[in-house]
Symmetry: D2
Subunit: 334 residues, 4 copies
């Protein structure tokens, strides 16, 4: 039985992790911590009443080392790099949800996130936790940097085309739409129900922090310098990310061949499904699937890619990574 701690237990990725783990036959939750709220977990999340009988406590590294084999660290960036090295030093494996160990270039990280990186040494030790592309690195890792939600959908959608050099690597537009749980569990007027309900709008024009992450991962995989334009939008839906990715083909490949290419690329992947039409956000909600549909249109290739931002885009992928680290069946818990 893998003993799991949840670090930073007040947000949506934490409760989603808990729900998946409660269903996991080889994992048990032993420790819940938070910097802010200390009470029974059911007071924070009434949905967990009678399902998990644990108090949320302040993080005690010694206790952590005693009760947990692995920590799912749901802290935000900056907070994460403060605690992660201590957890690693205490011999606990970490799957980190923040961006702190995702960007390999420290300067780029610091420019993007506008903070000094206080734990640069561990960046090199961190596997990028996208199993479909980096499974081997994850296997032996003590620290896994769980990918961002937008990069998960974009990277899985683009990798087959870029690796096969079928599209220009500097003319890619990722138009993304996210459900509102992506903004986190902190009240603000923008996300106040009567403001956000029945609404949709773009944000982060030209500056979203997930853009460098996407570029780095895809550049590493395809060997070319990938440059893309990423434009996110938020919509009055609870959960889901759907990306419509516009690519410039280098050589013309038929629709049937595109599908075949993707099916082959992901043929052993339990959590990637190749579709025959644009995937619906609702069909991946509450699942760990990434649904992908590549197609030609008016001289471009469009790739549609959809995930649940809280599952494949966060908690589900983290448990998938945990399964790989501990050599368990990758689909356990789902």
């Amino acid at each position: 039985m893998i003993r799991v701690a949840i670090i930073g237990t007040t947000g949506y990725t934490a409760i989603e992790s808990i729900k998946i783990l409660l269903n996991h036959p080889q994992a048990t939750i032993t420790y819940l911590t938070s910097r802010a709220q200390h009470c029974h977990i059911s007071e924070i999340f009434p949905a967990l009443r009678d399902r998990l009988d644990l108090e949320v406590e302040a993080l005690d590294i010694d206790k952590l080392a005693t009760v947990a084999d692995v920590a799912l660290c749901c802290l935000p960036h900056k907070a994460s790099m403060e605690f992660v090295p201590k957890m690693l030093d205490a011999g606990v494996k970490v799957v980190d949800f923040s961006a702190d160990y995702r960007i390999h270039d420290v300067d780029l990280y610091e420019k993007t996130y506008k903070v000094e990186h206080t734990d640069p040494d561990n960046i090199a030790n961190a596997a990028y936790g996208l199993p479909e592309l980096f499974r081997e690195q994850i296997k032996g890792a003590n620290l896994v940097a769980n990918p961002g939600c937008y990069p998960t959908a974009a990277t899985l959608g683009l990798a087959p085309l870029l690796e096969n050099k079928l599209i220009a690597c500097d003319d890619i537009i990722v138009n993304a739409v996210s459900g509102t749980s992506g903004v986190g569990r902190k009240a603000a007027l923008n996300w106040h129900f009567p403001e956000m309900n029945e609404n949709y709008f773009g944000y982060g024009v030209g500056v979203h922090r997930h853009m460098p992450e996407m570029q780095q991962v895809l550049t590493e995989k395809c060997g070319h310098n990938v440059r893309l334009l990423f434009q996110p939008h938020v919509v009055s839906i609870d959960r889901g990310i759907a990306e419509t990715i516009y690519c410039q083909p280098i050589e013309k490949v038929s629709d049937a061949k595109l599908i075949e290419l993707y099916q082959k690329y992901y043929k052993d992947e339990p959590f990637v499904r190749i579709c025959d039409k644009p995937p619906a956000m609702k069909d991946v909600a509450n699942t760990n699937y990434c649904d992908i549909f590549p197609v030609n249109a008016k001289g471009r290739v469009i790739v549609f890619s959809a995930i649940d931002n809280l599952v494949k885009g966060a908690a589900g992928q983290a448990v998938q990574n945990m399964n790989i680290i501990f050599n368990l069946e990758e689909t356990m818990g789902f």
Copy 2:
């Protein structure tokens, strides 16, 4: 041209009032004030960009007296009774959205709202602004206490039965459901989109502040001591209140006679519609209508009553009251 000031211009009842007044052929908005935010109105409400070119300022009573004939006072209770007497003294008529002048019994007010009433003298001068029941008092009034949203739907639904002594006045259950705009325009975790979306729950069990208001108004109209149980719920819808009111009939009246009774009672009312089935929240959204359907069921009489909480339940009713005060066509602006 009636010159209108909006006092407390940052909430939903304020923007709703502005939208109605922009459509009003005999009214013009001349002054916007707020205690908290001082900037162009379109910075607070981008939806008003290019529609209203006014700055939101701190309330200056002298300026108010110069530029406005009437103030729609959208302040919350307690704040209202601080400013209303000054506005009245300056010769400006006031339609007040708060509860401060609705409850005639000062003790009851103070017990219900848990504050001392600092302007008890004006309570007696205030007309209760439900035109269908108190039009004559509103006509000559300098101060109108605009009713609460829940009491508007309940009172219009119950008055014909109670006035005609067809139901027991001490065995009434008002089961109410409100859209989320009713909670106001202030962020809180409860109303954070991912918490509130796809949600419905009861609150205020046995203690909601609108209960005494309903009882007072109905007691005044029917001459008996009305006692009711009011149970509100909130739902993930923007706007609308729907009440299902369970009554104990004293004498049996057929369904057809019930409809006839209501049609007769409201026959000259432009904003009450008697329906032949339970009204849908969506059919009154963005209108000043109260839709009512009375019917017998299993020995009870059920009255279904629906309004838009921001229009007939607040801003629309306020403009309707303003029209009455100034002797304009009551439907102007709608």
Copy 3:
């Protein structure tokens, strides 16, 4: 490994049953049938792509007998009683989702559902599948009549009060609100998204078919003739039922004692949670829980009861019943 067939595989209760069973360690889905659509299951439900590789076929009783130990019969009333006796004769156990075997009085059934009952003999053989109240009968049953969604919430909410004779059994009002999945998976203008979205309305005034079912079950449990007024409403939410039940107390019991009474009544139940405030629809969504909060208010006792209409109100309860029939841990699959 229990081999399970799903009969009538095109509706929401069917896909919900499949999702739960895919997660069940001791059950495997072996057969899918439909009267209307014959194709791969993923063509009907793209969400099941790569999760279940079965064709949906016409029901063949011989094949059923060969491949399945139990059938979850998701057919509507009338269709059910045509097929259920054949399945039973073939030695297959049945959990039936329809109303056909819920009402013990054939005349009442025929009056309520306006069809002749063609299999009255099996009514007596059917256990009413509400495990919290009728677990013993379910244990040995070959046929279980899975309860209606509204009756599940109402019965669990009322049983402790009625069995303990704390409330009048002829003065009960059940005000219910259901998410839209309750209307089934068949397009109609009423449920067309732009009509139903942001909407809420009452229906079935005085005549809803679940009223006799509630009365029968509660009468059986409490020994008195229970008479109640049931008023349902539908709301623009996917899933969930929330009932606010107004009761007339016979003797006054404090709030604390009420909670204690309910906790004791359901102390060994894995799927009933007693709350300390009105339960939120969202907290039971996608779970098999019934959340209940009993409280005094203005001389009445109000019981708030919430379930997911597709889970505890249908598919989840069916799997719970299946677990009981086969002597498995009752919580398996959840």
Copy 4:
């Protein structure tokens, strides 16, 4: 007083037209027709109860000529071109909501809509009803082809850049998202509430019928052969269209200059608002505004454009066109 007939009174554009006209000081609705439903208008749209007392009848051209000066023809394509010539012959002006008179090239129309055009002569007589670009043609017209919803947002968003030759005319991607009212008022499983709620997906990849319309209009305005890739998506929101348009700049223009350019281009337009951030769908809902935000991002120019699909994208624009035809203030009714 302009006498207005609504032809095809069962859809969302019809009820939206009626609501706007009820608020129009110089127009009166005199005639409602439908091919399918003949009854009082309030039976089709309960929201109109007590607001419009007219029966919906079969279209009688003689009666139309007697009672109406102008017809808002809400029929779908193909049906429209059957009735429009008769209405014109009878001396009634027509604002046609269908595509039948929008495409100037008959072959292109027939290929796109897959029907024979039975009234080609009137195509040349039809003004394209986008007042901001074609006001002069509309002024004298007897027949106005009201633009499609997607083309309205795209064309207003792109015209300033294309007319000023600031972007390549053959490298434009229009990523569009529409509320569900865009699918019309006809039930289908795709738009059944429990299927569509909390959902978002792309459709019409490479083949949407609005693509040729956009290309034609923009080609006419800018003198170059405009070629674009249009990709629509539908989302679980009632109303609104938001387009994110990716353009390839020919020469670099600063963000400030872009805003200035747009402000100048639309400086006298009452219904175009230039924003300083991506417009929110909710801020244009229930209004006739088109909100536009142009901005540089990573070497591209992105134009965000948002409208209410039923107002500026249909009924509102039709009334705006009607106002122009009859030489009324263009903003009347709004």
